[in-house]
Amino acid sequence: MAEYSILIGGRAGEGLNKAGIMLARIMNGLGYRVFMYYDYPSLIRGGHNFSIIRAAPHRIFSHRTGVDFLLAMNRDTLDLHAHRKGPGTVVVFNSDAVKAEGIGLPLAQIAKEEGAPDIARNTGIVAGFCAAAGVPFGVLEATLRKEIPRGLESNLGVAKRAFSEVTPVPASRIEPPPPPVGGILPFMTGNEAAGLGLLAGGLQAYVAYPMTPTSNLLHFMAGLPAESHLTVVHPENEIAVMLMALGFAYTGKRVAVGTSGGGFCLMTEGFSLAGMAELPVVVMLGQRPGPSTGLPTYSCQTELHFAANAGQGEFTRFVVAPGDLEQAWYWAQAALSLSWRYQVPSIFLYDKNLAEHGYNLDTGLVPPLPGFPAGTWDGSLPYHRYAITGSGVSPLAFPSAKGAVVKVNGYAHDESGTTTEEPGTVNRIQEKLLRKGEGLASDLDGMPVVAAGGVKVSGDVLLTWGSTAGPCREVGDSLGLRVVQPVVLCPFPEKRLKDALAGARRVVVVEQNATGQLEKLLAGYSILPDARIRKYDGRPFALDELEAQVREVL
């Protein structure tokens, strides 16, 4: 067996995300590449939660429908995932909650006897899995020691009991792969990788109002140790979030905000102000299905045009849609730097799949980021915040700079920042806002704005964006297809994309929405695909599901 899939399921509130992460860490620690799909409804207790952890010796980004291990905390898990079982699937279940065929463990009883809280039943079932799969107890113990900060001893007690009560299943034994070159990679979510990217880029303030799927980025930032020197604020609403961000930017602090589509609706007023007042801010926009509240805890790619057009008026913006952790790490830093160099707002457009699912991060694959110094003021007076320059970029000074009167303004304004309606000045300021886009596009020319994967010489192309690039790459590898992903969406890298599509015979656009948002964007550049695959049920593509759909259209 070259790869393994493990599903763990139960009721919301039973700590299944944590259990999934433990399983992922165990497989990661063995030397596998790991992907974790976490599916949960929008509630705190009850309902059905599950994680699928897939482990393989190569780089992966998706799950498969079928699983090799099914770990069931309750009846629902067995019923809802019966279709995932094959002849060799090992079932480990909580025999205190359900009667089934397979390996039963009286988890409630074990937890009680070991003096552990109910939540430790997870530890028990994970230990049962380890025993069945022949994973050494030491590997499990090391993971528990890392992952369980409170009640470790009683959890270890539960783990030992459960481990000893299960007999290994020789046919399902998990053998560690050959030790990976370069060692074990970090395993984390897209939110964490993007957050680290922002921090590496010099972020000084993070402002957000909680909203799935970016709440965990807020939690990550707020939970950083003191040496982060990061100011984290959770204000009254997303309107305040955006305006606070602009206050930080005005004083010279590098700032990002986080939200999803609904919150970004409230932010667009301030986003347009950022455009007019030329204040840099990075918006971490995690997509989830709408309209309106929609499916709060699921995923989609429905805000491409919203991101590209949000806010009244015409101004330069940078929109990037990373598809994996390496791209997230790189482009979070790049968005911050480019925002400051051009004094424009940026949108880091991702989705629940990338934000909350677990992947490996291989920083060795990340290209070096060019330096983008922000233009600073040379001290000559009078200071003009909006001095007209050839590039459209005015030198930056911040309040308390000696002698400089720093005036920013959401009205049409002259070079000093004073309101004006004079037609000549109005024209000059509008042209200045747009001229900055030329420099931005030219800087981007030296960067990986379009990613190519799969079999690059193939005439059959999967053209996709965002997190959907992951499963597409895997399908590209298995079916021998080229995969092309425009990573930057504004300014649109037309030439680079056309270069990447050179020699294409058939182009299939794959995206997670109902109306073909990338396809519509491409039409404006006369890039017309031959077929399309669209998914809008909120769930990520399973590898086999996408493979079957691609076979159908090619």
Binding site: N28, G29, K146, G183, I184, L185, P186, F187, E192, L196, L199, A200, G202, Q204, A205, V207, P225, A226, E227, S228, H229, L230, T231, V233, P235, E236, N237, I239, A240, V241, L243, M244, A245, L246, G247, F248, Y250, T251, E269, G270, L273, A277, L361, T363, P399, S400, K402, G403, A404, V405, V406, K407, V408, N409, G410, Y411, H413, G417, T418, T419
Partner: protein, 283 residues
């Protein structure tokens, strides 16, 4: 002023007789006093909303953030948080702060961020040509309510008291010396300072005769006794004729919002090491 005139040469477009002139000149005088007392005007920031009041950003030659309607306070809060050494002054209208941005007003008070808010309360929308605001009296005939507004006004002082503001005052544009004194006190106060400035709108709501008749300067008032404060605050409900107190109603010492955020510049080495540790712990 020596090297800075404070008033810009931008053409002033307030109506003749507008209460904004008094507020502007009071603020100018307060800034000059601040400078004499050792505060560099480079360290002062003015944030304005949208409305007649907001032209202050164009007319005063100091750092300014000409924000959007209702959104002064989040901007000002972040500026103070980012650089606590700055003196942050906010000018906002009654439509701005009491309608469009009411949520921000309550939170700024609740946080006790050390900024000063001057409300240019003319109790009418001027720039949009004469509609009722949250402090217009019931029955106010504006262009959106030709039959008279069916809403009672709010008492902003009462709202601020309930929200946790630590300095609450009222001024009147036709009582300039007292207004200037109150504005200076508000800026001096450490914490969220709120001054509701009754300002006549010469074009759409000129009630100076009413104000002139009813205003009086608070004297011998205990600004630290909540019961007495509440009694004074509710004396006039912004609707029915009643004595209108001017001056400082309430003061309280509380730690400020920004004092709870340690502000230190990030040390690049620390940051790198922290990122490395997080990556390692994720393996």
């Amino acid at each position: 002023m020596n090297d800075r005139q404070l008033i810009t040469d931008t053409q002033n477009t307030w109506c003749p007789g507008c209460g904004n002139f008094t507020i502007q000149h009071s603020l100018k005088a307060v800034l000059q006093d601040l400078e004499k007392a050792g505060t560099s005007l480079d360290d002062v920031v003015l944030v304005t909303g949208i409305g007649c009041h907001a032209k202050m950003a164009d007319y005063l030659d100091i750092n300014s953030f000409y924000s959007i309607h209702g959104r002064t306070l989040p901007v000002a809060t972040a500026i103070k948080l980012a650089n606590p050494a700055l003196t942050v002054i906010v000018c906002a209208g009654d439509g701005d702060a009491y309608a469009e941005g009411l949520d921000h007003l309550i939170f700024a008070a609740k946080r006790n961020v050390d900024i000063t808010l001057f409300i240019h309360n003319n109790r009418v929308y001027g720039l949009t040509t004469g509609q009722y605001t949250p402090t217009s009296p019931i029955g106010f005939k504006g262009r959106s309510t030709p039959q008279g507004t069916p809403e009672y006004p709010i008492n902003p002082l009462e709202l601020m008291f309930a929200s946790g503001a630590t300095f609450i005052a009222r001024g009147y544009s036709r009582r300039q010396p007292l207004l200037k004194k109150t504005m200076a006190e508000a800026i001096r106060h450490k914490g969220f300072s709120f001054v509701d400035i009754l300002q006549i709108c010469a074009t759409y709501f000129d009630v100076h005769d009413v104000y002139d008749k009813y205003v009086y300067e608070l004297a011998g008032h205990d600004t630290h006794d909540p019961a007495k404060v509440m009694q004074k605050i509710t004396e006039w409900d912004y609707n029915n004729p009643a004595p209108i107190g001017l001056g400082t109603f309430f003061e309280k010492d509380l730690p400020t919002f920004e004092s709870r955020f340690p502000v230190q510049p990030a040390v690049p080495g620390d940051r790198k090491e922290m990122i490395r540790k997080i990556l390692d712990s994720s393996r």
